[in-house]
Point group: C2
Chain length 129, copies 2
C-alpha cells in the first residue's frame, strides 16, 4: 500500500497525466460503468455465449452488451472466441488478466456491501439535515 499524499497527484501533473487521458482510470471505469462488473461476475462462473449473457443480464440491451464486451476484450480482460459453426457461436471467457481483476473488484464491492448500513445512515442523516 503506497503512502497517500499529494505526491502522487503531483507526479501525475508533472507527467501531463490528467483524468481524461489517465490509463489507470480507463481501467477503473470498467468498475462502475454499469454493466462490466455484472458481466465479469457471470463470466466468473465460466465461459458464456453471447445470448447466454443476454439472458443472464435481463435489463441489458444487445448494443450495450456488445459494447461492454468489446471494451473488456480490448483491455485483455475478456477473451472472445468465434467458432464458425452453423449457426455461428461465440464464446466469452475471462482471461488470466481478468481472473486477477475480478477478485479485486469483488473485494471493493464487498466493502461497499459491508459498509452499506453506515452509508445509508449517513445519507439519511444528510438528507434530513
Amino acid at each position: 500500500m503506497p503512502v497517500v499524499t499529494e505526491t502522487r497527484v503531483d507526479f501525475w501533473q508533472a507527467h501531463g497525466i490528467n483524468p481524461d487521458n489517465c490509463p489507470v482510470r480507463q481501467v477503473l471505469d470498467h468498475v462502475s460503468a454499469k454493466w462490466p462488473v455484472l458481466i465479469l461476475m457471470v463470466l466468473g462462473g465460466g465461459p458464456r455465449r453471447f445470448n447466454e449473457l443476454l439472458r443472464a443480464l435481463p435489463d441489458i440491451s444487445k448494443r450495450m452488451l456488445t459494447q461492454s464486451l468489446r471494451n473488456l476484450e480490448r483491455d485483455g480482460i475478456v477473451r472472445r472466441e468465434v467458432f464458425d459453426t452453423k449457426p455461428p457461436s461465440v464464446s466469452y471467457s475471462l482471461t488470466e488478466l481478468g481472473q486477477g481483476f475480478l477478485p479485486r473488484v469483488l473485494a471493493l464491492a464487498d466493502w461497499a456491501e459491508t459498509s452499506m448500513p453506515r452509508i445509508l445512515a449517513a445519507r439519511d442523516a444528510y438528507d434530513r439535515g
Copy 2:
C-alpha cells in the same frame, strides 16, 4: 472472498435489485466518476480547504468539485466543517468510513497500474487486429 457464480446475480434478480437502484453500485460509482478518487487521494494527506482542493486538482471546475464533495459527504466518506470566520472557511477531511474506503480504492488502482503494461499490450494488439 465470495464464490463467484451466477448465484449472486440470481439473488439480485430475485430481490428486484437492478443496476439502476443497486446501492452498492452507487458507492462504486465514486470509484470512477472522474474526480472522487483524486479528491480522496488528496484528502488522504490530511484536511484541505475548498480552494486548496481546487488548486490541487488543476482541471476541475468549482461546480464539479462542489458536486463531488457533496456526494462523498452524503455517503459519509468525507466530512465538511464550516468555520464562520471572516472570510468564511470550510475544511474537508476523510471520515473514518472514508479512511477505510480509500485503501481499497488504491489497491484497485495499484492493480491497474501494475497490470498496465499487459493492458496496453492487449489494446495495441486489439487495435492492430
